[in-house]
């Protein structure tokens, strides 16, 4: 898979070593009990778990956007979706013997929230909240091997700035 669509967003993973649209029923098989991130992407030196949310979708219903905003502000999105998706994906890949990616490479969790109102200050706060909830660090004083080395929340603009050259994202319908 080199190009993949999530909702209204087109991801181009042609520069990845391997990539898969992970949350499709056929590919996953356990979506009734395990959550899944949208994409698993392997680069030369890392495995990226990528989750995309698109509240700025041109056809999004105002009510759905309001619910999304509420969940984002109250950390419900992080607790109920972003964290379980990442953890379950990791467990799935760890258990699965026909792996989509090389699990020995460092894992990074990238969340794209296509919401232009999110500016860097809010993205910093969201990223820190996600780091604390995954978590990326173990209990104080404990030697710890984090399952995900780090994570970051992006909006479309910051994604394009940092990752646009490697994995461009385009909106299908303006």
């Amino acid at each position: 898979m080199t190009v993949s669509v999530e909702g209204n967003l087109l991801f181009d993973f042609s520069s990845a070593v391997r990539s898969t649209k992970f949350d499709e029923e056929g590919a996953h098989g356990l979506t009734h009990c395990m959550k899944a991130v949208d994409f698993l992407v392997e680069t030369h030196d890392a495995v990226l778990l990528i989750e995309a949310k698109d509240p700025d979708h041109p056809l999004a219903q105002a009510r759905d956007v309001a619910v999304f905003a509420q969940e984002l502000q109250s950390s419900v999105l992080t607790a109920r979706e972003l964290v379980p998706k990442c953890r379950d994906t990791f467990i799935y890949e760890w258990c699965c013997q026909d792996r989509a990616v090389d699990i020995n490479k460092p894992w990074k969790y990238l969340v794209l929230i296509a919401l232009s109102a999110l500016r860097p200050p809010e993205l910093i706060v969201l990223s820190d909240g996600l780091r604390r909830s995954l978590p990326v660090a173990g209990p104080p004083g404990q030697r710890w091997q984090p399952f995900v080395q780090d994570c970051q929340v992006f909006n479309l603009q910051t994604w394009s700035k940092s990752l646009g050259a490697l994995f461009p994202v385009t909106r299908l319908q303006q």
């Binding site: 680069t43 460092p106 500016r119 860097p120 910093i124 990223s127 910051t158 700035k161 940092s162 990752l163």
Partner: protein, 339 residues
Amino acid sequence: MLEKLTVRNFTAFTHLALEFLPGANVFIGANATGKTHVLKLLYAALSSQAVTERREGEAFARKLQNVFLPRERHLGRLVHRVKGGETCEGVIKRHGRDLTFSFSNRAVNELEFRSRWPSEIGPAVYVPVKEMLANAPGFRSLYQTREIHFEEIYADIIDKAYLPLLKGAPTQDRKLLLDMVQEAMEGRVVVKGEQFYLRNRQGELEFTLLAEGHRKLALLWLLIANGTLLEGSTLFWDEPEANLNPALISTLVAILLQLQRQGVQLFVATHSYVVLKEFELQRTMDHALRYIVLERDSATREITHRVADAYLETLPHGVAQAYEDIYDREVQRTLEGVL
């Protein structure tokens, strides 16, 4: 209300031309972009009332000397220091009428002055960055009798805070404001002698023991309760965010917007993203809100300005840029080994 400021060769500025709204005028800028200078200049103009025009000119010159405190109080040191910048000239428009002034870089206190302002001017309040109420006892007499190196804005704000409360029950508007402040600081202010206290269920707490953020709210409470901040007054507030817990900034901005709704013209200088976003998030259609971005041009080193009536139009600016830089470095760290 203040409508317009045009000034040439004043402190950091070679040229500045700003139009203000009757509501909230929010100055955004990094350090050393002249935000405080604009606030002080306007404050000095509003605080220089006198019986005759000549006296008013003298009062304005003295006020400029005292709020800016140039070396040896030489007014000329406020002239922009650049080749050809020998004279500072300015016009401040209020209620459609001009106050014009000029002074040379050799001036001690000589200032050309002409005012067509209407004589009735509502009170002007300048809240400085440093909180002073806790240190107020004895300060006024010290300031009046000794040459201490404090800008006059500090003495002025203490004078205004000591004004006795207005008689009678507050109007509904004022009560609403007082309740907002009381709820945020969990008490009300009492003055005994020259000492300020916060009175709440636990008793009376002297200001020296009070969190500095709460002292700022207490100052607002006093200015509202004693009628200084009423319709027609002007509030200048330099860095309202200083020493304030970000959680309290939401309340502070709500109070400022409420003051604005009640006819107080606001001039706020900030480099806090939280203050800026609170203004943007809390504003409604009936709030007149203008942002003035002051920046130093990296090539010419001149201070430039931009005006916007919506927050997103102010971007990019130094305050947001600081967060973007942090975010970019964070992204780089996260994506180490990926890029």
